[in-house]
């Protein structure tokens, strides 16, 4: 039986370095190629040697698909394509193709220039890698090869994020990447049609969370920022340059305007302005409201938010600073955090998920004494707040997506094992489908049961259709045909056509049975009696008395002759072909019972 095999190389019962291998109908596809923020050693990249021990990745993989530009989904791509070696196609949406190389370059700079690592991918490698990228439109059916096709759906998580359907013949897999089922201030909600995939591979970051309404969270956020600023404190919001940052900027911008606040808002430089520019140019990927009003007012041109300079961190008085990266694991956000952590008036708001091993994760789990580089201990006195603004689907959203797509199986990735376990049970209970949650390196095999498409000759189909709907639905009508199989093409034709196409003659098999009947009357009278008898019983059949003295029932021929020895016995010759076997056999047994007494 055909099967689909799925092996996570990353993101199996974990968040980080998403990389999932899928084998479907003989095709091998790699979904995402991410890095892990919690590691600085070999474990930061997926173990690509798993894919093929010896042999080129290009020969083994039919294509690579990148769901969105976050580094835990694309961070290993240049390493994979240029250092390990892959020359096949890489698919992503236009915004992802635009933004991805910038984040990769940023990542490279931090790793090589700041941390001084060697043996890392170079700028040139990023460029060469991006040359292998094919950009796709939403809903466009991309024919990777004759059999394999992929299609992108809007995922809402960040600008350009997409879910992908991978389809070979009747078999299909949907990979969600990261997605968000509720529209936010700058993006729309994920959407997919009822595509009924054999397997849905879903992220499950918030597998156990049911988030309260967005409005409440926004109000909370604004209240906390406002209170801190009012009492002269500084607010640090670690973010990634693209995505949440824009949503929160829009939120603060409108709040500042409404409340007429004066405290400065800064955005750590670097990507910011560029990032906003991307949002302006790819406005068709944002939500309805922003798209509708962009001609009058572009939401990504901020009045109150200014570029941040390193020196501002030591300025007295209140301020709000957005700084990258979002998990406080390096860079400017970590620098500012170290400066401000000691003052209880200050506040850090973590607006998204933090991977294990990062400073962000440590302070969120309650740690207040952090060991920094050089054995320094940093005491955290500032307030630490967590606000779930990351645009992942929560449990409700995941269930909603399953309801939309109606998959036959579900497989969870990009989440923590314990939480997955809970969601898995819920999915199995509610939808009665199997749900899997393989760990990294563990292969899940799903049996599929694909239909077999064949070509049916229109003549045969029309012949069946002409018979019309059945009076009795409980007795379904059988259709007879011959399936011709030649070099992988399947055609269902009428038996006559099959014979003709193969250049074969029909072999006619005919039966003639002698049935003896006691009837002293003249032959033609006997025939008449037989005719009346049959006519009375076989109401649904065409029974005819021909001028030459024979009787036909459909195409069955009945002739009567006198017995050569016994004039009181007549011999009925019943003759039929194999195609009328049932009726012929029935007729002989019927006639054998004799004729009813004439009245």
């Amino acid at each position: 039986m055909p099967e689909i095999k799925v092996t996570p190389l990353g993101a199996g019962q974990d968040v980080g370095r998403s990389c999932i291998l899928v084998s479907i109908a003989g095709k091998n596809v790699m979904l995402d190629c991410g890095m892990h923020m919690g590691y600085n050693d070999d474990r930061r990249f997926p173990d690509f040697s798993y894919i093929t021990q010896n042999g080129r990745l290009t020969d083994f993989l039919d294509c690579v698909i990148i769901s969105h530009f976050h580094l835990d989904h694309c961070g290993a791509l240049p390493y994979f394509s240029e250092m390990v070696g892959y020359d096949g196609p890489i698919y992503m949406t236009h915004p992802t193709k635009a933004i991805c190389p910038i984040l990769l370059e940023d990542y490279r700079k931090i790793t090589v220039d700041k941390k001084g690592e060697t043996n890392f991918f170079t700028s040139q490698m990023i460029k060469d890698c991006m040359k292998k990228v094919v950009a796709v439109h939403l809903h466009q059916t991309v024919q990777v090869d004759e059999e394999l096709e992929i299609k992108a759906y809007y995922a809402g998580h960040v600008l350009g994020a997409a879910m992908f359907q991978i389809k070979v013949g009747c078999e299909s897999v949907v990979y969600t990447g990261d997605y968000n089922m509720t529209p936010d201030r700058h993006l729309g909600a994920a959407w997919i049609d009822k595509c009924r995939p054999d397997l849905l591979i879903s992220e499950s970051t918030y597998a156990t969370t049911i988030r309260d309404s967005k409005r409440c969270r926004e109000r909370d956020f604004l209240k906390k920022v406002h209170e801190t600023v009012e009492r002269g404190g500084k607010v640090l919001i670690p973010v990634f340059a693209l995505g949440r940052a824009q949503e929160l900027c829009i939120l603060l911008e409108t709040f500042w305007e409404r409340m007429n606040l004066k405290a400065p808002i800064y955005f750590s430089t670097g990507l910011t302005e560029k990032a906003n520019h991307y949002y302006k140019l790819f406005i068709t990927w944002t939500n309805q409201k922003i798209r509708k009003t962009f001609v009058q007012r572009n939401m990504f041109e901020f009045k109150h938010i200014k570029a941040f300079d390193r020196a501002f961190a030591d300025n007295p008085g209140p301020m709000v600073v957005f700084a990258t990266p979002g998990m406080l694991h390096a860079g400017q956000s970590l620098q500012i955090f170290r400066k401000w952590a000691g003052n209880e008036k200050n506040m850090v708001i973590m607006p998204g998920y933090c991977v294990q091993g990062t400073v962000g994760h440590k302070i969120l789990s309650g740690q207040r004494k952090l060991e920094m580089e050089g054995r320094q201990i940093l005491e955290v006195k500032m307030q630490v707040e967590y606000m779930s603004f990351s645009a992942h689907a929560d449990a409700k959203g995941i269930m909603q997506l399953i309801r939309q797509a109606e998959p036959r199986n579900v497989l969870l990735v990009h989440g923590e094992a314990k939480k997955m376990e809970f969601l898995k049970q819920k999915i199995e209970q509610e939808f009665h489908v199997s749900c899997y949650m393989p760990a990294n390196g563990e292969t899940t095999t799903i049996l599929t049961n694909p239909c077999i498409p064949v070509d049916i000759s229109l003549g045969l189909l029309k012949r069946e259709a002409a018979i019309g709907p059945l009076p009795d639905a409980k007795k379904p009508k059988l259709m007879h045909g011959t399936l011709l199989m030649k070099d992988n093409s399947f055609r269902l034709v009428s038996p006559e056509q099959a014979l003709k196409e193969l250049g074969l003659a029909e072999h006619q098999l005919r039966f003639t049975c002698r049935v003896h009947i006691q009837d002293p009357r003249k032959e033609h009278e006997t025939v008449l009696r037989v005719y009346n008898h049959l006519k009375g019983i076989l109401k649904d059949y065409s029974v005819q008395h021909l001028p030459d003295g024979s009787i036909t029932v459909e195409s069955i021929l009945i002739q009567a002759t006198a017995h050569s020895e016994d004039q009181g016995t007549k011999v009925l010759l019943v003759s039929w072909t194999y195609q009328d076997e049932e009726l012929g056999s029935y007729l002989t047994s019927l006639l054998k019972k004799g004729l009813p007494q004439s009245t």
Partner: protein, 658 residues
């Protein structure tokens, strides 16, 4: 498979295709050349146009002098301009299931179709097509509603009256189909029926037909359409371009293997080279401005204007025009310029690459930033304060009958320093100018039509090899003014089938197959037999289910167990249910093996006689005769059913079932 042709205009098509069980409208272009018969709508009181004499018939009767005015030696209708609608009577348009739009110029009749015919279906178009189409409609409605006209003339349309009018009014066709412009609420209602699609998106219609838009290279979001079932493919090619301008290049490969290719929207100026025309445009513009004159460019608010601005961007510094203001005046000028920058995915490769930097794809962003290009919603308001001459003005409508362009024609027409440059190919420039004659201003005709020319068409057809080509009749003969140019027509084998307005065409193709799905459990139960090397066959007896135009074959249900009760059955209960079909047989029966088999099964008295065509096998005791011939077997026996069945099965062992 029929094609109903509702428009006679080859570049503003409107066809309806009946394909399988669906009714598909391909484009709904609006023929606006009718507006040329009307007087221009001036934005400010024009003494000249308001004092025109009424037209008097030869016999002196004046009953038409309110409706018709004489102007510059021509007669014009003094009324709200009207447009010529596609045919609405040829078929019931409420039966149209879907409308496929190929580009924003070919959707201008949409509100008439969706709002007036009982249409309840869906319209499919790409996002740029819808957004820019909306802008074109908005501009149209705005420029007509801005100048309220008290009267709408209808008397002249009477057939008896029209006969008496001078040309070209006398020869105007389908005047009964001319309608006033729609309103914004109607535009909004029509556009709300559109569903957005992307290139190469496969859209299923009722499970029977799949439609797919393909990039056509002509305009932002412009598309050709593939309409196909599993076995037949119709390609609809409308407004395509192979020139590299701003849109994504044309997708030619996907048009291959078409049964029918419908070809519309070719260039209207087959003898002009667009590149040469752009060069002429620039040099004429520069010359006029250097001499202190103004340049007027009547144009649509989107499309070629982007390319013209890009050319000027590269040209103005070298031509010393840096200080000349460029004005773009249209109620949708700002929107058009803004929208052009956000459709990166629909642009050519070079422009896409710019967006990745990220930079705006079109350089007019920089022209605006540096104040070289200014845009205004109309001549009223800010424009009158900023207006400096000499200057270059881009504004609509290219028909010169309404919009801000009318004002500039009146303003600049009297000076020979000024130039009007016609770049849009949709209207005859002489007809457009007729009500403004006599004119001192220079007129330059540089029509830029990037759509396919006939050389490109024949190359395309050779490349994609459709079985049949269908096109408007205009394309099957040389242009009337250049009847010797036999190269200016579609040349293909077999010759193209042509259509004209209000004609119904039967499209030539024959289906022979349909797709059906075999359920997995049925497939498992099949027993394939290799009948010839490489060819296997299996007989299939299955239940056919048809739902939503999809056919599925399922395993027949197991026969129900006969009821345990032993009620006496009536004779008729035993009558075989239906005429159940037995398979056909093929093959021949080898004599010796057959006899051996008979003997193995206990027939000890087998006797064989040769006949002319074969053999006769006699089973003496059973009084049974079996005639064996090459292609037939005849078993003649007494009414001994067990014996007959036994013999039957022995014979069947040697035969192939079909």
């Amino acid at each position: 498979f029929f094609q109903y042709c509702l428009s006679g205009h080859p570049t503003l098509p409107c066809n309806v295709l009946k394909f399988k069980s669906t009714t598909i409208m391909l484009d709904c272009g609006l023929d606006m050349t009718s507006t040329l018969s009307f007087l221009p709508l001036p934005l400010v009181q024009s003494p000249r146009l308001s004092k025109l004499p009424g037209w008097v018939l030869k016999d002196g009767s004046t009953f038409l002098d309110k409706e018709l005015k004489e102007c510059s030696g021509h007669v014009f209708v003094d009324s709200v301009p009207e447009f010529c609608l596609p045919e609405t009577e040829l078929l019931d348009l409420s039966t149209v299931d879907v409308i496929l739009i190929s580009n924003y110029h070919c959707m201008m009749a949409l509100p008439y179709i969706t709002e007036y015919t009982g249409f309840t279906g869906t319209v499919y178009a790409t996002e740029p097509t819808v957004q820019i189409g909306r802008l074109l409609m908005e501009e149209l409605v705005n420029s007509i509603e801005r100048v309220p006209k008290a009267q709408s003339a209808s008397m002249w349309k009477n057939k008896e009256v029209q006969r008496l009018l001078p040309a070209p009014l006398k020869d105007a066709v389908e005047v009964s189909m001319w309608r006033k412009c729609y309103t914004m609420p109607e535009v909004n209602a029509a556009l709300s029926k559109i569903q957005l699609v992307g290139y190469s998106q496969k859209i299923e219609l009722f499970g029977a037909v799949q439609v797919t838009p393909l990039s056509s290279g002509y305009a932002l979001g412009s598309s050709n359409w593939i309409i196909q079932s599993h076995y037949e493919k119709v390609s609809y090619v409308s407004g395509s371009s192979l020139l590299t301008t701003h849109p994504q290049p044309m997708d030619q490969a996907s048009l291959k293997n078409s049964d029918v290719l419908i070809l519309t929207g070719l260039t209207q100026i087959p003898t002009a080279n667009p590149d040469g025309m752009v060069g002429e445009f620039c040099s004429n513009l520069a010359m006029t401005v250097r001499n202190g004159g103004n340049v007027l460019v009547p144009c649509y608010p989107s499309g070629v204007i982007y390319d013209l601005l890009e050319c000027l961007y590269q040209y103005i510094d070298s031509a010393g025009l840096s200080n000349v203001p460029f004005y773009f005046i249209s109620p949708v000028a700002n929107s058009s310029l803004e929208f052009s920058q956000i459709f990166a995915e629909w642009l050519c490769h070079n422009k896409q690459t710019k967006v990745y930097l990220p930079e705006p794809p079109f350089p007019h962003a920089e022209l605006i930033q540096t104040n070289k290009l200014k845009h205004y919603p109309s001549i009223h308001g800010d424009f009158s304060n900023d207006f400096k001459q000499p200057c270059v003005v881009f504004t609509g409508h290219p028909s010169l009958r309404f919009g801000d362009v009318v004002h500039f024609m009146e303003l600049w027409g009297k000076s020979s320093l000024n130039t009007v440059i016609f770049t849009e190919p949709d209207f005859s420039y002489l007809d457009a100018l007729a009500p403004y004659q006599p004119l001192a201003m220079k007129c330059v005709y540089c029509p830029i039509d990037t759509r396919l020319n006939f050389i490109q068409v024949s190359k395309l057809l050779k490349e994609v090899q459709p079985l049949h080509v269908v096109c408007p009749e205009q394309y099957t003969q040389p242009p009337p003014t250049q009847s010797h140019r036999t190269d200016l027509m579609v040349d293909c084998q077999p010759p193209a089938m042509s259509y004209r307005r209000a004609e119904v065409l039967t499209l030539p193709y024959k289906r022979r197959y349909e797709k059906i799905e075999i359920m997995p459990d049925l497939a498992d139960s099949l027993v394939p037999l290799e009948i010839k090397p490489g060819i296997s066959l299996a007989t299939v007896s299955a239940v056919l289910h048809t739902k939503d135009n999809k056919h599925v074959l399922q395993l027949p249900p197991k026969p129900p167990q006969p009821p345990a009760s032993k009620k006496r059955k009536r004779v008729s209960d035993d009558v075989p249910e239906c005429k159940s079909l037995k398979p056909l047989l093929s093959g021949s029966i080898p004599m010796d093996q057959f006899v051996q088999t008979l003997e193995k099964h206990g027939f000890s008295d087998v006797k064989v006689e040769d006949t002319a065509k074969g053999h006769i096998v006699l089973l003496q005791e059973a009084e049974t005769l079996i005639q064996l011939e090459e292609d037939s077997t005849h078993i003649i026996c007494d009414n001994d059913e067990p014996l007959r069945v036994k013999l039957r099965d022995l014979v069947l062992k040697f035969l192939q079932k079909f």
